[in-house]
Amino acid sequence: MNSKLGKGFGLVVGFLMACVPVLAHHGGSDYDVQHPIAVKGTVTEFFWSNPHCQIFLDAKDDSNKVVNWTIETLAPAVLKRAGWTRETLHPGDQITITIVPSKKGTPVGMLRKVVLPGGAELTGGALGEQPPQQ
């Protein structure tokens, strides 16, 4: 399931990258932090809330079926310091988002980086004084 989903999103690119700790309530062990992927799609909802914001994204898989991804982020406080606001994303926005995916193969992941419609990039922020997530 995981590989199926991974192959299905044209711009899905696996690469190794420097990992900044991310402990979601979801649990760090549930994400494949060694294999981030990029997903290109259309924002269906941007939910700005503690404990973690959420981005919902429609993207097509390899059978051209639209899958709605659930992508969590760090807290609003951390996103704000990385340049985000509650108005950063809107339904209909076309974005490419880099995430660490769930190990379960579900369309669930944790934000690392987003490329906005205008081409600007934002990271998912950092916990403590550490290099920002790439």
Partner: protein
């Protein structure tokens, strides 16, 4: 459960492997160099917002980094047999994924959460406001001692004195219902926590913590942590609310076939 715990530990170890680690504060590039013109600061004034720098902790101490389970070769605190058993139980509990509740985090765990805190000064107290979960701590600065009949609380009871330019904080009267760290180090009602705060330069705060908790540790042990002043920051609202956690469970955890945080289950501390 064990595999999940190991996976968790490995994930965090891998994550930190990419981050440069400073072995000693004097060598750390973030500490002002001796030949640089130091900015003026009052070593007795800690007011402002401070953001933690987890990777500045010296390597020869038990790691206290947020989210990081102990690795095979890590130094461990000097546990008593019962303290070690409690730690192992806590670690298993954390590995099961249910590490959060809305109880106050206590002083130690708040310090070791990688989020900023703000220091506010009043005539007789230093107030510490932790952004994460909106926890407040008061440190009395009027020379009083810890009352013998202080009610045990999550945040304990803190008093202070100056030792030259070092602000010394003594805390006790903990209720023992919280972990000392995110890794599950235990903390009991017998804890006496001492902190030695030093402003190394305008932007760097160093605090040496000594934990004296004879129920869990065979002798007092010390770790050192660092923070950076963030002059242009403000704290954001991040209270812990069960309604928000429940909503998060429904929208995220359940999408990943996870049961959620199950706040009805009490933590084993």
């Amino acid at each position: 459960m064990r595999n999940r715990f190991m996976s968790y530990a490995l994930a965090w170890t891998a994550a930190f492997a990419f981050v440069p680690v400073a072995r000693a504060q004097a060598d750390h590039p973030d500490v002002a160099k001796a030949d640089a013109k130091p900015a003026a600061f009052d070593p007795h004034d800690f007011s402002g917002i401070w953001n933690p720098v987890p990777n500045m902790q010296p390597k020869d101490e038990p790691p206290i980094t947020y989210g990081r389970a102990f690795a095979k070769n890590d130094l461990l605190p000097p546990f008593t047999p019962s303290g070690e058993a409690k730690f192992q139980a806590n670690a298993k509990f954390i590995a099961a994924g249910d590490v959060l509740d809305c109880d106050p985090y206590g002083t130690a765990r708040n310090f070791f959460t990688p989020r900023p805190f703000e220091i506010l000064l009043t005539q007789n107290r230093l107030l510490q406001h932790f952004e994460y979960y909106d926890n407040w701590r008061e440190i009395w600065t009027d020379g009083r001692k810890i009352p013998a009949d202080a009610d045990p609380e999550y945040m304990g009871y803190s008093v202070s004195r100056w030792d030259g330019d070092t602000f010394v904080v003594d805390s006790a009267a903990y209720n023992g219902k919280q972990f000392l760290s995110w890794s599950g180090l235990p903390l009991s009602e017998s804890m006496h926590q001492t902190e030695r705060w030093q402003r190394l330069d305008q932007d760097t705060l160093k605090i040496a913590f000594t934990f004296d908790d004879p129920k869990n540790y065979s002798r007092p042990w010390t770790i050192t942590a660092f923070w950076k002043l963030k002059k242009d920051w403000v704290l954001d609202a991040h209270p812990c609310t069960l309604s928000a956690i429940k909503e998060y469970d429904e929208r995220v955890n359940h999408a990943d076939h996870l049961p959620g945080l199950d706040y009805g289950k009490s933590q084993k501390k």
